[in-house]
Amino acid sequence: MSTAEIQYIETPRPDTGLTNGKIGIWLFLASEVMLFGALFSAYVLLRVGAETWPMGRDVLNIWLALVNTVVLITSSVTMVLAWAALMKNNYSEHKKFLALTFLCGLIFLGIKAVEYGQKFSHDLFPSTNNFLAIYFVLTGLHGLHVLGGMIVMLYFLLFGRKNWVERPKMYTNRIENTGLYWHFVDLVWIFLFPVLYLL
């Protein structure tokens, strides 16, 4: 037979029990942990070294952030339900939940934009003080990750059907890996919310 194609894309490798995609996404999430870890250590070092550090709730709008937290948690749930729908071979239910997740992402970014708008209108900028600077960098970078996840979901919403019909198992793995990434983004926000807004 001609040269072999790359294996273990769909079926896991017997001795490691994992597919290529799953190890790949978990390695990527490990590097993301280090990325946000570095930003958190920047936050802690700046806060410890600062003479004055504003209380989160005095400067930021907690209630918008609370809504955002709920939105992101809901999107995590709809994401995992979208994956479960595929396990039940129900593509239409999957598409509905994936669209819902995408919508939640959109709402999240919308609320973020409103929040940033409020800050800029009260002329609170990153250069005002280090609390706002690290706030903008952390939430900005997190927002970009949300956007990245949404672009991938949009791709699947528009072109996923052909892949599902031809190679259902590969498509399920892809959705699971996208889900892992999305849950990680939600996980980062779960830490961001108290650290920036409540303490």
Binding site: I6, I23, G24, L27, N130, F136
Partner: protein
């Protein structure tokens, strides 16, 4: 270099898809390799100008050399600002655009899939993306020389507040370039780890992996976990430069006489912690692949299994693990207290143990072997003492008390250049001579090889040994005039001219290599698939050059990677994919 196209694709791919936007790990490996060699040469060129300013400050360059500098020098003379640009970009280009892409991108991409019996990398498209992200970052870095204000000039370590206060935009382009390079390394690292874990041929258990594959696996883990903090620090410094934030700008900072009125409150130490959190693992990313290559060459050319293969594997794993907890030995003089100094001093001493184990195992592998001094073997054997000097001279720097005198002096320059130049780059040269027949089906000339090896070895030592003498005399690094303004440097100033002469002659010594490298592609002696009579899969199971998809059929592995001169076997090597009778 025309890989035969009997592969699964119906019709052969158009030229640009097969060579430019290819997803074949071998083509990407060669793309990485050649680009990295060009960047190494550019970095070398920058250093030659630096050596002129160090040896003969204020003296005009000859016209043909000054012409290369264009507007940066007027009538052949350039000032300290341009020298700092040369210094910062020499470091950045040599490390991030030269050695890492050659060691990890070039050799890793080309050799690892072949050595583990895989048809290609686990994610071919991501592999291609990582090369193009690397090329974009590289071109951005080169482009920054031609903008108004010139390239970054706060050292390859880009310490704030100097890097943030630098009004010219070269530093901003440096940061953006770094983000591209880090993304490229990240994608590469994920690809390597998944490929090595998932696509090993049947029968290729973990302890039958060639040591080169182990070194690339550990390197990939270091890249994966150490690079993101520098990306975060790069984002913070980018915000400091563009959005006037104050992450690294302390309050009450006095800038040329006036207190800088800004929010302040930042800490320059934050950058140093995040930078060196990558910085030290980065130097292990440089050395590990070279150790892997040298191990392959020594085993093959001494016709003897590696001594202590298991101890080398566990040492490289331990090296990778420890490399994350030693970074602050670069920061002993930043006002850290005795608790931190003691901690990092201890971890630094501990981390020197695995490197010594690997080095001794390599030296002991020579014992009792019937050694063939082929050209790759010359480089590999020369690597051992040179890396030894590099490693041992690092110990006084690792101890906080002696580092007080030696920090940021030419002793440090001598130390890390001994590890990188006669160490890593000799290993990589050996790798090029060793795997060239596999990549092209032709062997590189041995006469030109010797003509390249001996002068380069001698020049390297004449360049870097006097640096220890200057460093111990207290000459500090990054001086555009080589220390001629300092009284304590006067007795050792004459070494500057000696070092510079040796550096320029070493440039001439690279010509035989360039002729040999490009010449042998067309005129080299034709060889069949296993000219070195090696045992690992890339030689025994794949033709040279291997087609797309590498192996006619996926090989099965029956024994360890270095079964040389086994008793009762007619040939003095036993290929991995040959069953072991009785």
């Amino acid at each position: 270099m025309t890989p035969s196209e009997k592969s699964a694709h119906s019709k052969p791919l158009p030229f640009w898809k097969r060579y430019i936007f290819s997803t074949d790990h071998k083509v990407i490996g060669i793309q990485y390799g050649v680009t990295a060699l060009i960047f190494l040469f550019i970095g070398f060129l920058l250093m030659m100008f630096m050596r002129w300013s160090i040896a003969f400050p204020g003296r005009p360059l000859p016209e043909w050399a000054a012409a290369l500098l264009g507007p940066n020098s007027t009538s052949g003379i350039f000032g300290p600002e341009f020298y700092n640009q040369l210094g910062a970009m020499h470091g950045t280009i040599m490390i991030f655009l030269g050695v890492v892409p050659l060691a990890v991108g070039g050799f890793g991409n080309y050799v690892v899939p072949l050595q583990i019996g895989a048809p290609d990398m686990a994610f071919p498209k991501i592999n291609m993306m990582s090369y193009w992200a690397f090329l974009t970052g590289g071109l951005l870095m080169l482009f920054s020389f031609f903008i108004e204000g010139g390239a970054a000039k706060s050292g390859w370590t880009a310490y704030p507040p100097l890097a943030v206060l630098d009004a010219d935009s070269g530093q901003t382009i440096w940061l953006v370039g770094m983000v591209f390079l880090i993304t490229s390394s990240l994608l590469g690292a994920i690809n390597f780890i998944v490929t090595i874990i998932q696509l090993r041929a049947p029968g290729l258990t973990w302890m039958r992996l060639p040591f080169f594959v182990w070194s690339e696996l550990v390197t990939a883990f270091i890249l994966l976990l150490a690079f993101p903090p520098l990306e975060a620090a790069g984002v913070l410094q980018l915000m400091d430069r563009i959005a006037d934030t104050n992450f690294f700008m302390p309050s009450g900072l006095v800038v040329s006489g006036e207190i800088r009125e800004a929010a302040g409150g930042g800490s320059p130490l934050l950058w140093q912690h995040l930078f060196w959190f990558l910085g030290h693992p980065e130097v292990y990313v440089l050395i590990l692949p070279a150790l892997g290559i040298v191990a392959e060459i020594i085993a093959n050319n001494s016709r003897k299994p590696l001594w202590g293969y298991r101890s080398m594997v566990y040492s490289s794993l331990f090296l990778g693990f420890m490399s994350f907890v030693v970074w602050s030995h670069h920061m002993y003089l930043t006002g850290m207290g005795s608790v931190m100094n003691a901690f990092f001093q201890t971890t630094t001493m501990i981390i020197s143990i695995p490197s010594v184990i690997i080095l001794s195992a390599l030296i002991l592998s020579l014992w009792g072997g019937s050694i063939r001094f082929t050209v790759p073997m010359l480089f590999a054997v020369a690597f051992l003492p040179m890396f030894g000097i590099g490693g041992l001279t690092g110990l006084p720097l690792g101890i906080s008390t002696s580092d007080i005198h030696l920090h940021d002096t030419y002793y440090v320059i001598g130390h890390f250049h001994y590890v990188v130049a006669p160490g890593v780059i000799f290993g990589l040269f050996g790798g090029i001579y060793y795997w060239f027949p596999k990549a092209t089906g032709r062997k590189m000339g041995t006469v030109l090889g010797h003509l390249h090896f001996w002068p380069t070895l001698i020049c390297m030592n004449v360049i870097f040994m006097p640096m220890f003498i200057q460093g111990l005399a207290g000459v500090s690094r990054r001086l555009y005039d080589g220390g001629s303004a300092y009284a304590h440097a006067q007795p050792v100033l004459h070494w500057n001219a000696v070092i510079s002469m040796a550096a320029w002659t070493m440039a001439i010594a690279q010509i035989p290599f360039i002729l040999n490298f490009f010449g042998s592609i067309f005129f080299g002696k034709k060889v069949e698939s296993n000219p070195w009579e090696a045992t690992t899969l890339e030689w025994t199971a794949a033709p040279s050059p291997p087609p797309h998809g590498n192996f006619p059929e996926i090989p099965t592995v029956y024994c360890g990677p270095y079964e040389y001169s086994q008793p009762n076997s007619e040939t003095d090597f036993h290929p991995q994919n040959q069953p072991v009778e009785a």
